[in-house]
Structures are given as structure tokens and as C-alpha cells.
Symmetry: C2
Subunit: 354 residues, 2 copies
């Protein structure tokens, strides 16, 4: 039994699909990059310095109201599987999971806040809110950031703002992003147009698992690219405005599918249900893609499901490699996972009728 197993039976906040516009905006995320004065950036840090930072931050979190309930997990306490599990829950980054050295992460029991220690920067603080709730996420992260700053001396330059390991994060150190589910824009082949327009406006679009990952299952993560020369609230407002436009496009596309392409659309949704309910071997990317279509069908009242929202959203996580291995309580290679995944999905989808 690992410490991270406490999370397995709950739906990660970023996937909970509650909150405003949660049929399109799965979740909102903010992160702040901070570094502690008196220590070099991670790349130049000695191992004893790393250990010192890990323990220093541990002490800081204990006096911090927003983090004192958090699990403080040192990377040495975590198996490779545990780390992969946390990556799948978006609680640590792939880099944090795989790079060596002394590291840690603090995670609140509700998975709303996680604080990575010694990722690219000394501190990477993130908050998730289900649905389209950047404002709510900002309230939470701002409080914790202030609490941490009261305990730790952050590297700050009056002209530049917060100093960070990578110049693209200098200033506010803020990145705001929203995870959007855009199946109708994909089905109507409009999504590339939307992505191009956003890139021109300096917003980045990424896949389900962050930088460098492909958009899987029609999930797209949109974030601001500029951290310098804007106040935090202004940045968040800009992202919100853009996301609202994307939501409107996706809604239009859903209406178009319902009114102009009804039979073809129902065919695609029902084939997805049929394949998920019958396959014996399925990859995580195919499963995510098909679950995405079924989710669209549920959102549009075409598919009747007696799964709770939590059971449903949870499926997207449970089919991921580390989650599958945790549930099955054993190491599984890729072929074994494809079989276990198909079994799990067939079992859960009994609550969806053809």
C-alpha cells in the first residue's frame, strides 16, 4: 500500500466535471513558478542543497493554512508506478516524475492544490478547479502563494518580477490553462482553424498530458504564453475571454451536428458505445477517443447512462497505465494492460444500454 493510493477511489479535481460549463471546460488550472533566494536554480544545485530545499519547504507548508492537510511526498518515498500514477492525475509533471535527484510534492487531500518541489523551478504551485472557474482557482492559489511567501524568501526583481529558471516564466510566473473537451469541433473538422487562431493570439494548445503531447480523445489544454508585462488578473481575463469564444464555437458545432448531421452523428456515437462494450483489447488512446464520443452523446442526451458523473469521469483516469496497474494490484505490460482496460470498460459500461 502506497501513500498515493488514498487518491485512487476519488475523481481527480481536474476531471470531476462539475462547475460552470463543465460539459465543455473540464477544468481550470493555474500554476505559479517560484524560487527561493539564496539557492541556485535547480540545474546548478548540489544534492545537499536539494535536500535542504525539500525540508525547508516541508516546514513552510506546515504553517500554511491551505497546505497543512496536504500529503508531503518525497520522490524517494514513491515508486516509479506511484509517480506515473500522480502524473496521470496531473498532480506532478512527467519531468518531475522521471528526473533524478531529491524532489517532493505536497498534495491536498481533495487534489485541488499541488506543490511540486524542485521541478524546473524550486516551487511549482498549482490549483485545479473543476469546470470553467479560473477566478475561483486564482483566489485559492493567491492565498497559498502569500502564505508561502511569508515563510520563504522568493527570488524577486523589482523590474522583472519573480525570477524563474526559464525566461518564459519570468514576471508573474503564472500560467493559466483550461482543459477543453471539443469533440464537435473535431467531428466537424473546425478544430484546426480554432487552434490556429489561438496560436496567433499567443495562446498555446496542448494535449491531455501537457507540453509535447498530442490531443487525445478530443481534449485540448489552452494556456497563456505571456507571463511578463501583465497583471495576473489581466492574464486570467484574457484567457477567459478566449475560452468563452471557443465554448461558443463548440456549442454551435454541437447544434449543427444535432440538427444537420443527426443520423451520421448518432452512428458515430453508437459505434463508439458498441466498440467499448464489446472490445477485448483496447489501447488507452483508442479508449479515450471513444469515451470522448460517448461523453458527447451523454452531454447531448443521446445516450442513456446510469453511471454517476463520478463513475463516468473516473473512467478516463482508470484506463491509464498506472491506474490500471494500481487497480489490478500488479505490474502489467502493455499487452496485458490493453486486455485489462477492455475488461474494465466492458464492466463499467454495462450501465449504458444500446
Amino acid at each position: 500500500m502506497s501513500q498515493v493510493d488514498v487518491f485512487i477511489n476519488q475523481t481527480a479535481e481536474w476531471l470531476r466535471a462539475a462547475g460552470p460549463d463543465s460539459d465543455i471546460v473540464v477544468s481550470s488550472r493555474l500554476r505559479l513558478a517560484r524560487n527561493i533566494s539564496g539557492f541556485p536554480f535547480l540545474q546548478k544545485m548540489s544534492v545537499p542543497q536539494q535536500q535542504e530545499v525539500v525540508e525547508k519547504v516541508k516546514v513552510a507548508t506546515e504553517t500554511c493554512v491551505g497546505l497543512k492537510e496536504a500529503y508531503y511526498l518525497r520522490s524517494t518515498d514513491l515508486s516509479e508506478l506511484d509517480r506515473q500514477f500522480l502524473v496521470e492525475r496531473h498532480l506532478i509533471s512527467r519531468e518531475h516524475a522521471t528526473e533524478g535527484g531529491s524532489k517532493a510534492v505536497a498534495i491536498t487531500p481533495d487534489e485541488v492544490v499541488s506543490l511540486m518541489i524542485l521541478e524546473e523551478d524550486h516551487l511549482r504551485l498549482q490549483t485545479f478547479q473543476s469546470g470553467f472557474s479560473l477566478g475561483e482557482a486564482w483566489k485559492i492559489i493567491d492565498v497559498i502563494d502569500n502564505e508561502l511567501e511569508a515563510e520563504l524568501d522568493f527570488s524577486f526583481n523589482p523590474n522583472l518580477g519573480y525570477l524563474t529558471a526559464c525566461p518564459t516564466n519570468v514576471g508573474t510566473g503564472l500560467r493559466a490553462s483550461c482543459m477543453l473537451h471539443l469533440p464537435s469541433l473535431v467531428l466537424t473538422k473546425q478544430v484546426h482553424k480554432v487552434l490556429q487562431a489561438l496560436t496567433k493570439l499567443n495562446f498555446a494548445a496542448r494535449g491531455l498530458y501537457g507540453e509535447g503531447t498530442q490531443a487525445t480523445g478530443n481534449f485540448f489544454q489552452f494556456s497563456n504564453q505571456i507571463t511578463l508585462g501583465q497583471r495576473e488578473e489581466e492574464m486570467i481575463d484574457n484567457l477567459e475571454r478566449v475560452i468563452r469564444q471557443v465554448i461558443a464555437h463548440e456549442k454551435e458545432a454541437r447544434q449543427f451536428l444535432r440538427s444537420k448531421r443527426k443520423v451520421k452523428f448518432e452512428d458515430q456515437i453508437w459505434r463508439a458505445v458498441g466498440t467499448l462494450k464489446s472490445s477485448r483489447i483496447i489501447s488507452s488512446s483508442e479508449a479515450t477517443q471513444l469515451l470522448s464520443l460517448v461523453e458527447l452523446g451523454i452531454d447531448m442526451d443521446l445516450v442513456k447512462s446510469s453511471l454517476t458523473q463520478q463513475e463516468w469521469s473516473g473512467l478516463f483516469l482508470l484506463i491509464q497505465p498506472a491506474h490500471l496497474q494500481k487497480i489490478n494490484k500488479k505490474k502489467l505490460n502493455s499487452s496485458e494492460r490493453d486486455i485489462c482496460r477492455a475488461d474494465l470498460i466492458r464492466e463499467r459500461l454495462k450501465k449504458i444500454t444500446l
Copy 2:
């Protein structure tokens, strides 16, 4: 109500899937090409001569024991849809259905014998037997051929044998063929090797609907290419020997799938079931392909179906364009058919459980 509608609720002999080795050899077919002395070949024939032949053969069939129960259908009595319907039941050829001029076809009520009048030759007599029964088919066709020859003076040359419009049919005028269902050779990617070997031995392989058609749904029609210099029984023996080898290969491939590729194989079969039970739009080629996989699953006891053999075999025919229009009692364009086909399959496949 058209005369051909009498056939709609029965399973065509060529698809009935009874008889020896019928899990692999769907049916056996023999056809004889004959021409009547004193008339030019079809291409040189005037319309009055065509009409004369149509009526002359009509009279001959009436005194012929094997054909006196047959429906004698003149092409002018048949709508385009009726002719397409007969093509789908393999009772007339596509050429006979679409080329103009005076034509006719005699069909026994059990669809075992059909006699096309004025196809490429004046007479094309064919018999179907379900399963691997070339010998049985030969007994039937030989009797009728002799009966017809007693009434009609066939063009015959003592050196060459029966004369035919195309030199490839001169001699016996016989073509023997078997329709084989070879899903396992396709799944194990061995089918091309088998087809190549057969071609070298002067056997032709064709699709579900004869010359020039692609193999659909893993159905392959194998026939002899040589009509000259061999006695009929010898030709049939040669084909039988080759077919027996193909049957053995398919059986081996089925065993291989069952023992060495079990999960992957079950995945393919069950995905086919899932798609057929859920799609809202499906083309006839996709449907045939998927039904073929489910048939394999039934043959191998992987799929439990409470459909009768007749209900099941009938599906392959009922999803064809003309059959769909006959059942729905209206003209349907291609998109409408794709929807009706999916509806029909979903309805029928309720008797198959996931």
C-alpha cells in the same frame, strides 16, 4: 407485387449453408453454356430472332421434368429492381440484368436451377447446391441438359464439343465453382498465397458477385478455367481436389487463431458484433465484412446466437440494395439504404448477446 417476390422469404440455395463442409464451402455451382443451331450468336441476332429463341426455350422447358415447375420470367416482365434482386440471389448475371434486348430466365421454386436465356450464350444453365456438393449439382444439371438437348438442337462440333460465343467456354461449356468463406485465411494474411497458388493451377478466384468483383466479406468464388480437353467429371474432380486443400488450410488457420491468437481473435469477433449491434449507418460491404467475422465466431462457438441458420444466412442477402428496397417496399437511395440496413441488422442481431 412482382413474380420474383415469391423468393424473398426463403434463403437462396447458394447461401443456405447446409450440406457437407458448409461452414467453409457455402455452396457449389455448375453452369453449362449452350447455343441453338440455326441462330447466330447473340451479338449478331435480330430482335425477332431473340424473341423466337425466348419462346422456343419456353416450350422446351415445359416438357422438361427438371424445369416444368420453374417460373419463366421474361426480362420485359421484370422491373430494374426485380432484375437487381435476381442478381443478388445469383439467379441471373449482372450482364443479363442490364443489357437490353429480349431475354428470359427460368428459375425453379427452390432456386436450385436457373436457366438464363440470351445471356452471353443462348442458354446458360446453372445449378446450385448448398455446401460442398459438386457431384450432386452435376447429377441435377446433367439430367436437365439432356432433357433440353432432346428438345433443342445444340450447336456441337465433333472435334471441339459445344460451340460457345466466347472461345474460353468451347468444349464442355462447363464451369464449376465453389463459394468459400475464408475469414481465417484473411485474418492470418495467408489468403493471397492461396490465391496465387490456385491461379498457377488455372483456377480463378473471384468475389461474391462473380467476374470483376472484389472479394467482400471474406467470400471467394473458385472456378475452373479450362473447358476444353477434359471430361466434365474430370474437371469437377480437379476442382474438388483443390477445394479440399483450401478447406484444410482454412481449418488450420481457424485452429491457429483459436490456440495462438485467442484474445486478439475474440477482440476482432466481438468488435464486429458490437459495431453491427450499434451502427446507425452501414454500407453493404462493411456489413458483409463484419457479418463474416460474426459467422466465423458462431462457427467456432465463440458467439452465442439464437438465430436459426436460415435467419442468419438470409441476412447476407437481405442487406443487399435490391432486397432492402423489396423489404421496405419503396425505392431507396444509397444513403437511405445505409440507414435501413443498419436498422435491419440491429433488429435481427438482438438475438445475439454480447
